[in-house]
Symmetry: C2
Subunit: 347 residues, 2 copies
DNA sequence: CTTGAAATTTGGAACGATCTAAATTACCAG
DNA sequence: CTGGTAATTTAGATCGTTCCAAATTTCAAG
């Protein structure tokens, strides 16, 4: 059962040539005679030879391995991201170490270190919450290309691919304004993250642009989860001058907000406008269907992988920052459907 | 920027010892003097040395890499599976190549070949539809441990971890019978897969056990997707002696079935009982909430990884077949809530 | 036949670790 | 001191590949 593994030398011997020739055949060199190439190829198949890439890399020190570390694979947004990367990495003839950091910076550091020991040529990282630039500095300084995706790490000079949170938030707010809302809140998310900051600024800028109130009390931060959404909406409902609509940090918060509204006998999408962010898979099927800002995670993954491969192949490179565009998907939770119905009646 | 990489020899030189000693330190051997160990450790940190595991493996030919290939990472069931594996693989000090085959056997073959060239110690595979035993034979024969998960490949003597589809389907059917249904259908899934066969037999056995009709016309196969569910339920509604409830091949089919029922003005969970399979994440939040057979994919992933590691560590091993137990999660779509309400009124 | 250039093939030194067996050093009792 | 054992350290071969420089073969023209 356990084959004593066969090497180039075995192949060479069986084919009656030298190991150098076999090596040449393996790399498809044009130096080798067509007859010998065929002969060696036949022997390779016959003996069931498998190429040992680590041995090869040892000599030429350029591996075909990239690392992919994602903060939460169970979140379908990040799973899609990973699948996008997988597609381009695979079709470029590379293979990936892939690991889930589960939002734990220590675990993240461990797997990155391990990948480095195994000789990865580059890393795509969707960083765990709390990742600092110091965590990544040694890796970056060693000259290994790194691409951050979905989230940024402040103070680190590396490439990144992030979605346009500012534009997305602004578009969502403009849509709510167009629907007639004049007092709009921003719900959920930890206010010490870069993503929060960007979306919140988009929110605020759109309000200011329309000459509406954009004061601090309209921004209610909380955990970026369903539970956080419930908590945030409770705070909102206790406000004196109560808003009539809200943009949420992400879809999970938006779902929580809907839960919270319902338990206060306020129907989301009818009595109150709710917009989410990310367009997770459940957004379409939820009741009411969630109006949300959609960010094609698979496309982002592909772009990140392309960027990384480009940097790996060009010995020297400059960090690049890509911004993935974003689009508002209007469904029911914002109340657009309601308004159309109303207009139909009036007409 | 680009460090000329430092090796054991550099460390040895800087620490004033031989490379053998450095190697001993690296493997934490007790042979080396405490003073030298400290000295070498300091130099290692100072020079920013990174261990080159491929070089090491070349000599000792036992890598700390496992391969994980999954048929569809965008499906949250399989994503959870992968996360479970990730957990145990990572904490065992291994690292994984992970790839998505996207249900494409050719792509699957490619990535497995690539992983093999890179020297993986074992493989966990959730096989793409259409995988044959011939596809995996060479790998298995080479003595590399392989664990199949979620799906089996007929005619291949390797370890596997699958859920108990028979018991799950039977439990679901018994529950429907208990709710008063006497004519029950099985919807969706391709009837040439092992998983289909197992679930369908569980369905049939439970019907026979209760002395009910279990004829072929009650089994309506289709694509295992939402669209497939719609198609299957349409065929069901055109039947002469129409069933009053259905067990679906998986949750996607169940959602489709609900869609189809609604467009025929039949309310799932009220006029018709629907049960799914897998307990995907949306099952809980859908309307009506889906009654379904839950299979803890993360736990399955963990068990698969544990099994693989066990086989890697014991030089020789026998294939083992693990069956993950399964439990029925009763929500709304089966009509149980309705019945309870009715009973409350009657009481 | 030679001959020289082109086409092939090849030996052996890397690559960065481990491992064996042997060398060196330390230490202690006599 | 000396011998002997225990504790450390080390030289050098080795793992499976690539690559350089050199060797060999092929072959058409003189």
């Amino acid at each position: 059962m356990k084959q004593p593994k066969v090497t180039v030398v075995d192949v060479a011997h069986a084919a009656g040539v030298s190991k150098s020739t076999v090596s040449l055949v393996l790399q498809g060199s044009s130096l080798v005679n067509e007859t010998t190439r065929a002969k060696v190829g036949a022997v390779i198949r016959e003996l069931g030879y498998v190429y040992n890439r680590s041995a090869a890399n040892l000599r030429q020190s350029k591996s075909k391995i990239v690392g992919i570390v994602v903060n939460d694979l169970t979140n379908s947004f990040f799973a899609e991201l990973a699948v996008g990367m997988d597609m381009v990495v695979q079709s470029a003839g590379y293979i990936q170490f892939m690991a889930n950091s589960a939002e734990n910076p220590d675990r993240q550091a461990e797997v990155i270190a391990s990948m480095r020991e195994h000789g990865m040529a580059g890393l795509i990282l969707s960083p765990a919450r709390g990742t600092t630039s110091a965590d990544l500095r040694p890796l970056v300084d060693s000259g290994i290309p790194v691409v951050l995706v979905a989230r940024n790490v402040p103070g680190l000079k590396v490439s990144s691919v992030v979605s346009d949170g500012h534009a997305g938030a602004a578009a969502a707010v403009r849509h709510l304004i167009e629907l007639g809302h004049r007092r709009i809140a921003f719900l959920g998310g930890f206010n010490d993250t870069a993503v929060f900051d960007e979306r919140m600024r988009g929110f605020r800028d759109a309000l200011v642009e329309a000459g509406l109130d954009a004061s601090d009390e309209l921004v209610i931060s909380s955990a970026p989860s369903r539970a956080g959404g419930v908590a945030a909406v409770e705070r909102l409902l206790s406000m004196a001058d109560r808003p009539t609509a809200a943009l949420c940090f992400n879809d999970a918060v938006a779902f929580g907000a809907c839960d919270g509204l319902r338990s206060a006998r306020i129907e989301p999408g009818v009595d109150f406008g709710v917009i989410g962010f990310d367009d997770v898979i459940e957004a379409k099927t939820a009741v009411p269907a969630l109006t949300t800002v959609s960010v094609d995670p698979q496309g982002m993954g592909r772009r990140a992988a392309q960027l990384l491969l480009k940097q790996i192949n060009s010995g020297d490179f400059e960090p690049e920052a890509l911004v993935a565009s974003v689009r508002l998907v209007v469904r029911e939770s914002c109340g657009a459907a309601q308004r159309m119905k109303r207009e139909a009646v009036t007409a």
